[in-house]
Assembly symmetry: C2
Homo-oligomer: 343 residues x 2
DNA sequence: GTTAGCACTCTCCATATGAGAGTGCTAATA
DNA sequence: TATTAGCACTCTCATATGGAGAGTGCTAAC
């Protein structure tokens, strides 16, 4: 069924009013506050039709209406008016980012900003570096048979890993190995997923058979292991959920937070939406995770030097101010892209 | 007033029963379950005296009794029977720690273990390195005028920091500087707080006046800045609070969690108790933070190679199984000490 | 010093009641 | 045909009421 103009106006009004008050919206309120030139009876009739078509629902007969997931979806896709952050807000965000001279800090600040500005949960996925070309690998001997391996990629990402070796590696040998590796990296572009394949092959040509079966080879294998690129998740503002009346009951809250505590599940879900567009909005049951079926997720990709690197997002009740959530998420992801590209 | 034996037994019984059921404890229950050879009337009389002396209180006349902070304190100091973890539990903990080949992971696992085993919030403070002697400082050039500085201490702690330099530093010069610094470090023991004082003085003798006023000197200053030793806090199990009936009401929960979200406040508080003994127990209002006045904190120091390095702890309602909380916290802090010492 | 007995207090739960908000339906109207 | 006024009906929510049950405090007796 095609919605007529009045129905669209009413739907938008219900979404807006419900977001504002968190109470079912009555026909009278719409007539009063949204200046439709129709009587409550007419509005009621339209609402009845909207309900029959699954855009609205009632908690019980004789109560006002609440948007369904479908209602929200229609609103987001067709009715919502894009919101732009005020210049003042933008300046404040930039100001806060000035403190982040460091990668970890930038991630943390981002999740804090998201949660503070939206009163929801802020989520930041650390950059994935799979598609990054490795520019340089260095070894730093820390003593006690520990070696710090530092990998620098073309996008400027730095990955570190301390490796415990089961025997001593001579300093000169370590230097030789690192020089050899870096000369190979200079010769051809190798991305981080292929380190193991390509470099170990090359190294086999220059290391002795004895070394090949010793801890030195084991060490090299561990160096090139892609588990560098840990899926780190930065979460902030879990408490914010409690501000929303839909989570007044501790059970519901508990249910959601149990998912949140398992940071990885949420991260994997968000990664699953990567590549489908700059900003993705998942409303209620559209998502697969049953713990957050009365929540919506607004995610936005960020990039480093033009390469898509990760995503940030906010998680809150389906009853949210979508235009604002989207503008905040997008603006922050743009800023984060800029900052990470400068690092 | 000196408590007689029966009063002590009754107090211990009330603490135990109240911990188990979270309901005010009646005289009848104590007579039944704790095999005192006295009638309920007698027990009631003793409870009346305990209440008059501030060891117990009643939510209302004609309800059972609940321990006060003073009651818990007396129980912890005088009545409680030390609890030892079962061998099976110890093995499980050791098993889980086997996954932690890495510093960050060890910290995270520790906070998870604490929260899972105690059903409370697990807190882990990262090691402070102030009293550590610096063994070695290395510079790794990352390109784009970024230099990774790695400091290794005698306890084996590794601190890293990426520094953005405002101009290029010649590779040989960087090598010279690092060699010079390391030779000085070998000559005398310098702890991390004194890096700035001692090394900059020494360096002034070997760098040119031009360098002294350039970005190179600035870089060195930043290298030796002790902000390396960031007070990182690992928190786990915020949801656990909700399992406890005392936090059923969202307001109370909110109040506490607002503190928890400010990780640093909690960290600073715990640091404040460092040095007063291996295990410190703060019950209810004994603590200064008003947000957690109906909570108790059990903290235990851990060390690295015999040097006190930091603390772990659990935070939960004052109504907790103190003997078990203590044994878990202590056992885990010992294991953590071992693991960090091996790194 | 201890205890049986009992009146008294307070909570908690189920039930009842009425006001208020909002709808659905119908018949009248433009 | 679309819109609207009017009204009966439904459901929630806040408040009041009463009775059962748990537990105490007190007193008198042992």
């Amino acid at each position: 069924m095609e919605l007529n103009e009045r129905m669209k106006t009413i739907l938008a009004a219900v979404v807006h009013r419900y977001f504002t008050t968190a109470e079912p919206v009555s026909s009278a309120i719409i007539a009063q506050k949204y200046h439709l030139n129709s009587s409550t009876a007419t509005i009621r009739h339209e609402m009845y039709l909207l309900e029959k078509n699954d855009y609205l629902w009632q908690p019980h007969t004789s109560s006002g209406r609440i948007p369904t997931d479908k209602g929200y979806r229609f609103y987001v896709d067709n009715l919502m008016i894009k919101n732009y952050l005020q210049e003042k807000e933008k300046r404040e965000i930039i100001q806060i980012y000035k403190k982040s001279k460091e990668f970890e800090k930038a991630m943390k600040i981002t999740s804090q900003l998201l949660s503070k500005l939206t009163d929801n949960i802020g989520v930041v996925l650390s950059p994935i570096i799979y598609n990054n070309i490795v520019k340089n690998i260095q070894f730093v001997s820390l003593g006690n048979n520990r070696i710090l391996t530092v990998i620098v990629t073309d996008a400027g990402l730095v990955c570190q890993k301390i490796i415990n070796v089961s025997g001593e590696i001579n300093k000169d040998r370590l230097n030789y190995l690192s020089n050899f590796i870096n000369s190979k990296l200079a010769e051809k572009d190798i991305d981080i997923t292929n380190l193991n394949n390509i470099l170990l092959d090359e190294l086999e040509k220059v290391i002795s058979l004895q070394e090949k079966f010793s801890y030195i080879y084991k060490f090299l294998e561990e160096c090139f292991d892609i588990s560098y690129s840990e899926n780190k998740v930065y979460l902030d503002g879990r408490i914010n959920l409690m501000k929303h009346p839909e989570f007044k009951e501790t059970d519901k809250l508990n249910y959601i937070l149990s998912l949140i505590e398992e940071e990885n599940v949420l991260a994997t879900t968000i990664r699953g939406y990567l590549g489908f567009g700059k900003t993705i909005i998942i409303i209620g049951k559209e998502g697969k995770l049953k713990e957050i079926q009365n929540c919506s997720l607004v995610t936005s990709e960020y990039s480093i030097k033009g390469k898509s690197a990760g995503a940030i997002g906010i998680l809150g009740p389906t009853r949210m101010d979508y235009p604002r959530m989207i503008s905040i998420t997008e603006y922050i992801s743009d800023k984060l892209s800029e900052i990470l590209s400068e690092f």
